[in-house]
Structure formats: structure tokens, C-alpha cells
Amino acid sequence: METKNILIGGVVLLLVIGGGYWLLKGQTGTTQPSNSTAITNTQNPTSEPNKNNLTVEYSGQGFSPNSITVKSGTTVTWVNKGSDLMWVASTPHPVHTDLPGFDALKGAPAGGTYSFTFAKVGKWSYHNHLAPDKNGEVVVEQ
């Protein structure tokens, strides 16, 4: 059994080292540092959208528009038009680690909003944490 343990331990160790290398390799040379995580959560209606402030609606059936492309520094506001809570958060579910800070940390009730300013260039998927099959994406360009 001891030899079997050593063999399995060796395989797991190799996988960890190989996987870690692969993951870290994939993270290099990505994007400019994020310095903006303006988060609000309010039931007040959203203001008129402009070029630096886009709105995405959540109906309970999903997000609309499902995919948006914005410039770096744009604030996106999600409005809950449905009846269930809307908890916008970065993928992957349920740990929300792809874009740190992009997490409402609580559900917005019907009529509530959540805003996030995207400083980091990239393609950021998100979902409703309380209904994780409802998702969307924000493509942030320079």
C-alpha cells in the first residue's frame, strides 16, 4: 500500500505542478491592472445612459443585452426588472474569481441595480449568483 500511496502522491504532485505552471503561464501578459471597482446597490432607478454608462436589464429569464462591448473605464449598470433577486458576479460560479471585485456580494431586489466600472481590458463573463444558469458577458476594449 505504501508504494501505491507514493505513486498516487507522485501523480497528484505532477498534476499540481503541471496545472499550476499552465495556469500561471495563461495569466501572464494579460491586461492592464484594474483600479476601479465602483459598486453601488440601490433601488433607485438608473440615470439616463451615456457613452460611459451602459445599462443591462435582468428579467428573470436572463440578461438583455446578453453581450455588450464597452471601452475601458465604462460603468455598466444592471437593473433588476424581474421579481427574484439579482446578484451579478464574475465567473466562475460560485467563487467569482475571474475578475476580482466584480461581485455584487448581495442580491438586488426587484427594481434594484448594481453598477461596476470596467478598468481591465478583456472578455468578462458573469452570471446571476442565485440563478447561475442566467449569464452574460462584457467585452472591454482599450
Binding site: V12, S83, D84, T91, P92, H93, V95, P132, D133
Partner: protein
Amino acid sequence: MRFIDDFLNGITMYRLMLYYLSLLFGVAVILSFLQILPYNPTDILVSGFYLVFLCYLSNQVFGHLFKIKPNYESQLISGLILGLIIGPFPFLPNLLFLTVTPILAMASKYVINIKKQHIFNPAAFAVVASAIFLGRGASWWIGSTAMAPFIIFGGVILLRKIRRFNLSLGFLIAYLLFYPKTFLASPILFFSFVMLTEPLTSPTDKNLRTYYGIFTALVLILFQKLFSVSYTLELSLLVANIFGRLVRHK
């Protein structure tokens, strides 16, 4: 410590798990009532009791059909786990999801097993199956900073009872090396204390349990990098369950 050990020696691990999950359930309802957690306490209560009831009912039916005496605590534990990771949402609009998932959990124990020992964690299997076939997944809502002290308190006592510190720590250390900021505000703690350590689906050998924890973390990290699905956490456990079965003592 003597007092704790005397208490732990006086109850079964299933009963302790039942107390632990019941504590978490009760605390979550109270914190939601106090608006510390952002949920409707009625949703938690109604969905939770329904899930526990259906787990109990379907386990009795499957036990009768397969001529196996069901473990009383086990069915309640599965129901409570589901209640802590599904929703919380209004009962009626989500009735199909709330009905199918506990039945799938109990069915998996009887249908997918080797020598009457189930292979997959029932709750994990059920939420993965529901995500695939119903398009409805688990939110893992119990993972939150407000719940973390209670999850850790009960989790440490549970791990002392079932002697699986190395399994849980192996997973946590390997995963948190990559994602250290997920420690408190995510369901990683609940997952590592409650679901990963299930005695029937994890290795019996102490050293293998450490590898099992590390293996699960690695699979989870890879899945989160490779797949855009919302059920990587529970899927990684199912893969680990297969690994656990392959290396399990005969």
C-alpha cells in the same frame, strides 16, 4: 478539549453532521431575518423543509423498492445540504427544480453503487444532473462571510470527529494557493468540510485522503479554467468520487 471529545464520542458522525447542518440552517434563517444575509427567511424555510421532506419520502420509497433499510440521518443530511446550496427562491415558481433534485439525490444512492455503497455524493450528483437536464443549478448561497464563523466552528468539530483534517486541509491549501481571496466569501469552506469529507465516497486510507483533497482542488481549478459551466464545484467532486472509489481499500 476533553469535554468536546466526550461529547463527540457519545454520538455518531451522522448525528453530528445532522446537528451541524441544522445549526447552519437555523443561523442562516436568523441572519436572513435580521437582514444580515440578503435572503427571504421564508424562502429558506419553505424550500428547506420541502427538500428534506422529499429526500425522506423518496429515500423510503427507494429503500422499499431496492429492499435496503435506509439510514435515517443520511436522508435528512442530503435534504439539508440541498437546502443550503439551492436557491433561496420563492417556492411555487421553482417547484419542478425543488421536486426533481432531491429525488435524483436519493435515486443516485440506489442506482449508482458498488456493493451497496454509493459512488457519488448524492447532493452533488443531483445538482449536476439538474443543471444539465433542467438548466437549473445550485447557487451555493450558504457560502458567505456572515456564515463563515459558523461553518468553521462546526466544521472543525466535525473534522475532529471523522478524523479528516488532512483531506479538508489538502483541498483548501491547494485551492487557496491559486485563489486566496475566496477563503471566506465563498462556499469553498462548506464544500471542504461537509461534502468533500463524506466517509462513503472518500478514501479510507489517511494518506490517500490528503491526495484526494489535493486532486479535487486541482480538478476544480482546471474545470474553472476550461469550462464556462456554472457547476464546476459539484462536478469536480463527482470526478473526485470516481478517483476515491478507484483508490479505496477493498
